[in-house]
Amino acid sequence: MSPQQHIDNPIRGGRKSAAVFITLTLAIFVVVLFLPLVTVFFEGLRKGWDLYIASLTEPDAIAAIQLTLLITAIVVPLNTLFGVASAWAITKFDFKGKSLLLALIDLPFSISPVIAGLVYVLLFGTAGWFASVLDQTGVQILFAWPGIVLATVFVTFPFVAREIIPLMQAQGSDEEAAATTLGANGWKTFWAVTLPNIKWALMYGVLLCSARATGEFGAVSVVSGHIRGQTNTMPLHIEVLYNEYNFTASFAVASLLALFALVTLVAKTLLETQFHDELAAQRHR
């Protein structure tokens, strides 16, 4: 190590410590992240392509895939709508209790998914607060798709809001005020001024929300009832197959979700690198 190098990179040290740090990091990545990822595809394809395809095309698997898509298609727009509405109220206006509202939006992140399922059982279960109302009207929430939607909405609640609120806060409301002064109504101001400013952050939030909604397990498992072919989402279907020692089929379905997770990561990275400035105000957690 020459003295010159020492001045340039006082902390980095020499090549030797670089090698040590990079090797350690690679080892951590291999054990913690790559092994599980590889295992999913390895086990899924282990008994050949035919069985893999068969596992994905059997009726229960297809029902699970359809249910997962349906749930995601309902949950993500709902939470997006909430994200935009709450962000509009919080970032464009000053009112009492704003910070309380902000804190409450983040609340579901610090709650166990199982508790997220539990709270809806306490409301809609056979001994739930609203059990008699549900009995009279014949509406079924638990052990049916509405319950799965509610539990999934709960766990993905903050995703969109927390991506766009910091950004809209940083952008302020001058542009919107100008548009309104020039005679644009609220909707027009939102579509023409606000939305273009936040579209990439919004997309980022929608992406994270979809990924979580598709893969949610704990909350959904509490409210779904595990009815095969009816209320089993993909993660629940994976669990059922695994507990029946049908490992290959279980990993085959799991590999679909893992693939979706990888696509999410790629899309997320692209958004971060391409539109860094437009996402700038957000904090990664």
């Binding site: 006082p10 002064t181 990664h284």
Partner: protein
């Protein structure tokens, strides 16, 4: 809307719910947000807070002092703590490498850090159970020594390390990136050794974000369910986690019992979050002083 605007137009010391603004849409946006928040989060959580007491204080105490519940809560919190500590070590090494060194494939590694966020917990769960089972890729390495990883508390810990992996890295990375090299260089020029520079210059700067990441990883791990139950073996008193007990109470239709455990988890978590926040404030103040 109009009436409200005129009411707010008046000056004086009156209580004002909101400051006047030229922009429309406040009431619809706030109204929908509050309604949605109440329906999805607040009313359901009210049920969690109120329902345990249906069995009375003594009933709640009976549930929570049950040996099996106590050991499950202990396991959930201790394993989460151990996993978060492990992730502090892993996180420091990985963040340091990602921020300070250039090497091929770095961008890919950086992107894949978030895998545990993106990968569904059940998928991670069955993969980890397979790897660490006695005949799995890693489990088989330990088997000859009589060490079992999966289906023991160690399995719970392993799953929680996976789940909490990204939190510390994502919290510390931006701070370490913004840390001014000049300060370190000055310390080095003044004769501080590398370890000393780390201890005196870098560590104090990243400590608040390290604590943030630690707390997030810990909070997430305490409530984690999907990735744990496959690898844990779920042996009562040994490798059974608290969220699993909630599920079991529900299967026995003991709503109040399930709610009691859930509420206990929530209260303990909030106390820990509170302590962390207080520490956070102290750390930041220290740094500024």
């Amino acid at each position: 809307m109009k009436a409200v605007a005129t009411a707010h137009g008046r000056t004086g010391p009156r209580f004002r719910f909101r400051e006047p603004s030229a922009l429309p849409g406040f009431w619809p946006a706030l109204g929908f947000s509050v309604f949605y928040l109440s329906a999805i989060v607040l009313i359901p959580l009210a049920a969690l807070v109120l329902r345990p007491w249906e069995i009375g204080l003594s009933g709640v105490w009976a549930v929570l002092s049950d040996e099996r519940v106590v050991s499950a809560l202990r396991l959930s919190f201790f394993a989460a703590f151990a996993a978060a500590v492990t992730n502090v070590v892993f996180g420091l090494i990985v963040t340091w490498t990602l921020v300070r060194y250039e090497f091929p494939g770095k961008r890919i590694l950086d992107a894949i850090v978030d895998l545990p966020f993106a990968m569904p917990t059940a998928v991670a769960g069955i993969a980890l159970a397979t790897i660490y089972a006695p005949f799995g890729w890693i489990g088989a390495l330990f088997e000859p020594f009589g060490i079992k990883l999966a289906y023991t508390p160690i399995g719970v810990y392993i799953a929680l390390v996976f789940v909490g992996f990204p939190f510390i890295i994502r919290a510390v990375q931006p701070v370490l990136q913004d840390l001014e090299r000049e300060v370190e260089e000055a310390a080095a020029t003044l004769g501080a050794g590398r370890l000393r520079t780390f201890r005196k210059v870098i560590f104090p700067a990243i400590a608040p974000s390290l604590l943030t990441g630690f707390t997030l990883a810990f909070a997430r791990a305490v409530g984690e369910y999907g990735s744990v139950i496959f690898i844990a073996g779920n042996l009562p008193y040994v490798s059974e986690i608290a969220p699993l007990l909630i599920v079991q109470k529900l299967e026995e239709y003991s709503y109040a019992g399930a709610a009691a455990i859930g509420l206990a988890m929530l209260v303990i978590s909030f106390v820990i979050l509170l302590v962390s926040n207080i520490l956070q404030v102290a750390l930041t103040r220290n740094q500024k002083a």
